[in-house]
Amino acid sequence: MKIVTICGAGIGSSGILKVNAERVLKRLDLEADVVAADIGSVKTAAADAQVILTSPEFVDAIGQTYADVIVIENYFDTDELTRKLEAALG
């Protein structure tokens, strides 16, 4: 399974989402590749992804995709991440 985290620069906020998503996946005992990417490369980065994690600002720019687009409100709230990842993957 592949999860892509998206932000404007591909570092910083998408990196934080990647790190925290990996922590949550480990806790849930789920295996996935988590890749941080910038919005400009979302089409290639997310072409084979099942889940995209991002902020509300990028939903429109991500556009049509086969992946589940999950909006994260508080990047540091691992309970929110756990809840939303469980719902998407469960």
């Binding site: 570092i11 910083g12 990196g15 991002t54 600002e57 508080n74 540091f76 691992t78």
Partner: protein
């Protein structure tokens, strides 16, 4: 996973900013003061938000301003600006912002190690509240776990 350097020169307490641009500009100036970035980096961080919206407000009260690695970045570095009056960035969930972090990462920098260290500070904690009410630069560096 080391936190990027956060020297005293990169911390500004109780700053006054008229709007989000001014707040991000202040954190850019703090990164320039510490030597992590050139003065132009602040403008790059503002441009990222103009282009993509206030997505840098990644948690209630907290903005993580950053731009891409580029010629404006001199060294990996972090800056912290606390705001005397909270500022609206226009984020749907996490406004108003009380603490602005500035992050500069060089192209060769271990950015995932750096952001993991930032995540460690803020995950499931009241670090934003502690930073917003920090009385001294030393308090800010202690809350952030800065050793450089």
């Amino acid at each position: 996973m080391p936190l990027p350097p956060l020297p005293e020169s990169a911390v500004v307490l109780d700053a006054t900013a008229a709007d989000w641009r001014a707040a991000v500009t202040l954190v850019g100036e703090a990164l320039a003061a510490s030597g992590a970035a050139t003065p132009a980096y602040g403008g790059e961080m503002v441009r990222m938000i103009e282009e993509h919206g206030p997505y840098v407000v990644i948690a209630p009260g907290l903005a993580l301003a950053h731009a891409r690695p580029g010629p404006e970045v001199r060294a990996d570095g972090l800056a912290v600006v606390t705001l005397a009056t909270p500022i609206e960035f226009g984020h749907p969930y996490n406004d108003p912002v009380r603490v602005v972090l500035g992050l500069a990462i060089t192209r060769g920098g271990d950015h995932l190690g750096a952001v993991a260290a930032v995540a460690n500070v803020f995950n499931d904690s009241d670090a934003v509240e502690q930073l917003a009410t920090a009385a001294t630069v030393q308090d800010v560096r202690r809350i952030m776990g800065a050793d450089r």
